[in-house]
Each structure stands twice: as structure tokens, then as C-alpha cells.
């Protein structure tokens, strides 16, 4: 169910709260976190962890994404008093996530290089990782928005609210990202998205 944040409780989608009211609610929650309220922190985590997960998944190996999500939220907790504008929380958190991914990649580059992903023997899993690799090569805005939608199951409205993007920008990113993804799947891998009755989709050079 789509949810929005309001003074420490979650409301169903369609709640008549105006944008200023939601911003005020978010500001109140952030103040509570800054004052050490761990329940408020848990609510922020619940609302924003999928966005952070999607951003990281687009950049770092999946095996480390969950740990890095935790790192990002710890970092946000320690720095939340720096946040100048509560309404900018989503964008601020996304920047922390992107920087954390960059740091991770820089450090891991200096260590033993493992394959980006270590799928098991299941061909479906291999297909999924191959598809993920193609999504990862999309431009940042498309990649992040598509992963929030296709991996995390977030709606367009929810992506806009969490990321700080306008709904129009999210709609454009989804539309153009999906178009580009189709082109990449066709052009670079040579696999069409076949109708369901044609069997498993071939999206990667894993065979």
C-alpha cells in the first residue's frame, strides 16, 4: 500500500494531506531523529530504505547492498543536523547513498577483484543478473527510477515523494528509461521481450 509520512504515523495513499503538511510532518520527524528519537529514525528508515536500496543496487554488487543500506542510514543519522531544509531530505539521503557507493567502489577496486555478481546455478537467477547489468548501464536518472519501480515496487508518486523529484520528472524518467531499456535489450543483447507464452526471456550472454 502506498504510504506517506505524517507526524510519526503512516497514512494510506490518497490521504488529503497537502504537500506543505507532508513537508511539515517530515520536518517534525527529522527534528525527532536529531533529538535522538529512535522510533522516528525507524519510520524514516521504513519510508526511505527502498529508495536507498535501489540507488545502491544500481551501482554496487548485490551481495553488499543490504549492508551498505545500513551504512547509509547510520551516516544519515550522524549527519542529520546538517540538513538545512527538511523537504530536501530525500535528495540529501540519495546523495549520501551515491557517495557511499562511490567510496565502496573506490575501496573495493584496491582489493581483490571479485565478479560483480555471484549468481548460483539457477538460469533464472543468471537471467536476472544479466538484466540487472543492462539496467546498470542506463543513465543515472533512468537507472535509479526504474530500479525503484521494477525492483522495489514503488509507484511513480511514491518515487517522486521519496526522491524529491517532481512527478513529471519521474514520469519522464520512467518512460524514457523503459524505452532505452527496451532498445538496449534488443540492440546489445539481441533478445526481444517475448510474450509470456514463449517461455523464459533471454536477456544475457549466460548460456
Amino acid at each position: 500500500m502506498e504510504q506517506v509520512l505524517e507526524f510519526g504515523r503512516v497514512l494510506p495513499a490518497g490521504d488529503p494531506l497537502t504537500i506543505p503538511a507532508r513537508t511539515a510532518a517530515l520536518a517534525e520527524t527529522i527534528r525527532a531523529v536529531a533529538a535522538g528519537d529512535e522510533d522516528a529514525f525507524a519510520r524514516l528508515y521504513s519510508d526511505y530504505s527502498r529508495m536507498v536500496h535501489a540507488i545502491l543496487l544500481g551501482r554496487v554488487p548485490r551481495r553488499d547492498v543490504d549492508d551498505l543500506v545500513q551504512d547509509v542510514f547510520v551516516s544519515a543519522y550522524t549527519r542529520i543536523r546538517e540538513l538545512r531544509e527538511p523537504a530536501a531530505f530525500g535528495g540529501w539521503l540519495a546523495t549520501i547513498a551515491r557517495n557511499r557507493a562511490t567510496d565502496y567502489l573506490r575501496r573495493s577496486h584496491e582489493q581483490v577483484k571479485l565478479p560483480d555478481e555471484l549468481p548460483g546455478g539457477d538460469p533464472i537467477e543468471a537471467e536476472t543478473f544479466a538484466l540487472l547489468e543492462i539496467v546498470r548501464k542506463l543513465p543515472d536518472a533512468y537507472r535509479e527510477t526504474l530500479l525503484m519501480r521494477l525492483v522495489e515496487g514503488m509507484s511513480g508518486n511514491e518515487i517522486a515523494e521519496r526522491s524529491g523529484l517532481t512527478p513529471a520528472s519521474v514520469r519522464v524518467n520512467l518512460h524514457r528509461g523503459m524505452k532505452l531499456l527496451r532498445e538496449r535489450l534488443n540492440a546489445h543483447v539481441g533478445a526481444q521481450l517475448a510474450p509470456p507464452e514463449d517461455g523464459p526471456t533471454k536477456v544475457g550472454p549466460y548460456e
Binding site: T95, T102, L131, V151
Partner: protein, 499 residues
């Protein structure tokens, strides 16, 4: 082809499913994370959060430790200005030893365990203790500690870190971060707290920041409030709040960039810092110049002396488009890297804190003992980024940073990063063919034996390697000749890290 139907479903998962999108969703949905539980907020994390807000809490003066975040930065800037004025008055009026700084009889800091078993020297720290000048604080896996910087601030030392207290006395506090991460929150006037790393020196200008050093000596500075000056061998980066700067042994401080810039912008800047003349560098320069926002004028200003001469005009144009050049400055001055011209343009950016830094550097007490002050008082000759001419006995040599003479016939750089006293370090020189080189080094801020040179001077070839060893740290003038050509520059030789 994208249809309205799949657009509807892309926007709203409750709409009629588009089969293609639904199948992608089904596959990729298996990658959803295990993010049900938030991270545990440990005492360590809480302490770090409290330290991050330390200036806000002190400035606020009220019962709450939380300052409305939108007021934090302006309040900090105002407070910093007041602190600076008070500090300058204090610096000239207060008798030695009467300030809050450490005195010779009290040349140590309080240090406390946050978690784990940090060590001071060879002793395991239990609860609280003291760290004296020359002693090293080491934290292993899972250990963290807190140091009180006299009474001007705090430093949190993360796990797997090794940091030495190099100096502490009135108005001068210096750490040497050999590896790992520290977080500093300093309330003193600018310039009182300095951290040396193997590849750059961070000078606090009244702020909160984090500094990380990898085992190879490279590092990252991230500033959370105020300013930090990051410098090495004459290469300076002024890093404001919300910005970061990388550093490494070869290039020194990297071009600072705001943390909210796009990843592609940061990647392109890294290319400009690290990649020599190539198509990739050209592409990255174009990207930076096209995508710099108004506030990225700060970054463009830093690029001017760092790019090659043939790239410089484009950078100047890009900066001028975002922040007009002052009327008192000519384009020719900037192209010539005239320091006064660059400083005037910097002041135009409205970032006054950096001019504080210049003023502070210029008035640094000359009577201060050389060991602590020489890094500030040594007027180092700036290096430049440029590619030396091809040689007959070496491959491509990259674009430095190099010291170069006026007619660009003599080029020199350290192959092992900053010079440290007591080490035989490898150096590279490019000179004209057919003439034998000479080189000498003399310390200019204090008496010292001459620099030692180990080499086989090359007569015919252009590329020359040599070992140079400086007997002491300090401010040194190096003079190299080849025939009637001469290269002379001043550089700061740092103390040997293990002493």
C-alpha cells in the same frame, strides 16, 4: 514501442499490467533487499551524531542540542567570523601560555575509549588517559577513541586508524594521520589545528570535517561545516562545507567538488586530476565545463592552475560565464596564474573564508619553532600540470605536477610524493640532450647540511633519475642546471613520519 498502457502501469502498479513490464518486474523483484530492520544506533553512532552537532550546540546556548537546520550554516558563519576577530585580538594581546591552548608543561591531550581497546604507544588505553607529543594512538578492528584537542575541539578516531600527536602548544596543534579515519570538530580561530597526511596537509579554518587516509597514502577530505585548506607542495584546495577533495601521493590535493554534484561530474573531475593528455581527458574537460552549475565556480577556480596551459583559456571562459572576472583583473594575468589575480577572482565568489586563510598564512608568527610552523612559513613554488617534451630514453611521463623553468627546458618532480627528511627518494628530471645536469639543495629557513644526491648524470639523454635525501625537514631551495638552463624552486620537506 512504448505504449500508453505500459506507461500507466509503470506509473501505477495497480493499473492494468503491461506484460513486458510485469515480467521485468517479476525478474528484478527477486533482487529486493532485506531492509526490514533499521540499523542499530549504538552509543558510538550517537556520540558521532553529537560531535557532528557540537558547534551547533555551543552556538545555540539553549537547552536543546538541535538547532533548526536551516539556521545552522549562517549561524556557523557568523560565529566563525566572531571567533576569528576574537582570535586575532587574542593572538596579539594574550601572554604566552595564558590561552586555552596547551602549555609546554601540559603538552598532551586527554584521550578516551569510545569502544574496544585503542592503544597509546604500546599501552592499551583503559577508560581515559593522556597522549603526549610524539605518541601514537592506534585503533584496531572495532576500536574507536576520542581525543580532546586541548580545549579547542574534539577528534573522533575511527577503527583501524593510526594517528600521532605531532605538536600541541599555544595556537598550534598538529596531528599526523598515517592511516584510517578521523572526524574533527574544532572551534578555534582558523589555522590552529592541522593534520598532516602522507599526501596533503589539512588546516582547519573553523569547522567540522572528516579525513581518511588509505594504506597507500591517498585520502579523502569531506567538510561538514566551515572550511578546510588542503595543501601539498604549493598545491592548494580550499574545501567548503558540503564539499570533498581527494588526495594522493603523486598529485596531492585533488580538485574540490560539492558532494551534491552528479556522479558523472565528479568522475570527470577525477579524470582531470589523474589522466594525462588523451581523448578521455578532453571529453572530461568538456563535460565539466558544460555541466558546472553556478556554485561549481568554486571548482572551476581550482581548475585554472591545475589544467594544462592549452586547456586554461576554456576554464577561464567557463568560470567567467558563471562569475564575471573582477574589473581589476586581466585575462592575461589569470592565464599567467598571477596569484593576486586569482585571489581577487576568488574573493568575487563570495567565499571570504579563503582570504582569511591567505591573510593568516601571511601573518603566521615568525618566531614559532620551525618544527610546527615551517609548513606554513615556507613559500613553496607552485607546481604545474603540463606534459614534458618526449625523451629518447623514457616513455610518456604524464602531466605532473611538475616544477618547470621559465623556458620549459627543465622539468622535475618527485616520483614518490612529498619529500620527507631522512629518506632517499626517487626523483625524475627532463632536461635538454647533450648537456650534463647538476643539482643542489639548501635549507633556507634554518642551518642544515646540504641535500645528498645519488645519481649517474646523463649527458646524451633527456630523461634523468636520481635519489635525493634531505637531512632535515624544513624549507628547501632546489636548484638544477643543464648547460645554461636553470630551474630553481622552493619546497617544504616534511618530518620523517616515524619520528
Amino acid at each position: 514501442m512504448t505504449t500508453m498502457k505500459d506507461d500507466d502501469y509503470l506509473w501505477d502498479p495497480k493499473a492494468t499490467p503491461d506484460p513486458d513490464v510485469a515480467r521485468l518486474e517479476q525478474m528484478l523483484g527477486t533482487l529486493r533487499g532485506n531492509t526490514t530492520a533499521p540499523p542499530r544506533i549504538t552509543a558510538t553512532v550517537r556520540l558521532k551524531a553529537d560531535t557532528t552537532g557540537i558547534l551547533a550546540a555551543r552556538d545555540d546556548g539553549g537547552p536543546s542540542t538541535y538547532v533548526g537546520v536551516r539556521f545552522f550554516v549562517p549561524a556557523l558563519a557568523a560565529a566563525a567570523a566572531i571567533v576569528l576577530m576574537v582570535g586575532l585580538t587574542w593572538r596579539t594581546a594574550a601572554p604566552a601560555g595564558s590561552s586555552a591552548g596547551a602549555t609546554p608543561g601540559n603538552a598532551s591531550w586527554q584521550v578516551a575509549v569510545i569502544v574496544g581497546t585503542p592503544r597509546v604507544g604500546a599501552s592499551v588505553l583503559v577508560g581515559e588517559g593522556r597522549i603526549a607529543i610524539g605518541q601514537t594512538l592506534t585503533t584496531g578492528e572495532g576500536s574507536r577513541a576520542k581525543m580532546e584537542v586541548s580545549d579547542i575541539g574534539q577528534v573522533i578516531v575511527d577503527e583501524r586508524t593510526r594517528v600521532r600527536l605531532a605538536d600541541t602548544r599555544d595556537g598550534h596543534h598538529r596531528l599526523a594521520l598515517e592511516r584510517g579515519t578521523l572526524h574533527a570538530a574544532i572551534t578555534a580561530p582558523p589555522g590552529q589545528f592541522v593534520v598532516n597526511t602522507p599526501s596533503a596537509t589539512a588546516t582547519d579554518l573553523g569547522c567540522i570535517y572528516s579525513l581518511h587516509v588509505d594504506d597507500d597514502g591517498s585520502g579523502m577530505l569531506s567538510v561538514e561545516a566551515g572550511w578546510v585548506a588542503f595543501e601539498e607542495r604549493g598545491r592548494e584546495s580550499f574545501v567548503p562545507a558540503g564539499a570533498s577533495s581527494r588526495t594522493d601521493r603523486v598529485n596531492g590535493p585533488g580538485t574540490p567538488r560539492y558532494d551534491d554534484t552528479e556522479q558523472a561530474f565528479r568522475d570527470a573531475l577525477d579524470d582531470l586530476d589523474n589522466v594525462g593528455r588523451s581523448t578521455r581527458r578532453e571529453t572530461s574537460l568538456r563535460y565539466v565545463l558544460q555541466h558546472a552549475r553556478g556554485r561549481d565556480a568554486m571548482t572551476l577556480w581550482h581548475l585554472i592552475p591545475r589544467v594544462t596551459p592549452d586547456e586554461r583559456a576554456a576554464v577561464i571562459d567557463a568560470l567567467a560565464a558563471r562569475m564575471p572576472m573582477p574589473g581589476t583583473v586581466s585575462r592575461a594575468d589569470v592565464l599567467r596564474l598571477d596569484r593576486s589575480a586569482l585571489d581577487q577572482w576568488w574573493d568575487q565568489l563570495g567565499l571570504d573564508e579563503a582570504s582569511w586563510w591567505r591573510k593568516w598564512k601571511g601573518t603566521y608568527p615568525a618566531a614559532a619553532p620551525a618544527a610546527a610552523a615551517q609548513a606554513q612559513s615556507c613559500a613553496e613554488t607552485p607546481t604545474m600540470r603540463a606534459t614534458p617534451p618526449p625523451t629518447s630514453n623514457a616513455g610518456p611521463l604524464g602531466d605532473g605536477p611538475w616544477w618547470v623553468n621559465a623556458d620549459r627546458t627543465l622539468w622535475m618532480q618527485s616520483a614518490t610524493g612529498p619529500w620527507h627528511a631522512g629518506y632517499n627518494q626517487k626523483n625524475m628530471m627532463v632536461k635538454p640532450a647533450g648537456v650534463a645536469p647538476t643539482i643542489s639543495g639548501t635549507r633556507i629557513d634554518a642551518p642544515a647540511p646540504l641535500m645528498t644526491v645519488r645519481w649517474v648524470p646523463q649527458l646524451r639523454a633527456e630523461f634523468q633519475t636520481m635519489g635525493l635525501e634531505f637531512p632535515t625537514e624544513g624549507c628547501w631551495r632546489i636548484t638544477a642546471t643543464a648547460g645554461d638552463r636553470e630551474l630553481s624552486f622552493v619546497t617544504n620537506v616534511r618530518p620523517r613520519p616515524d619520528r
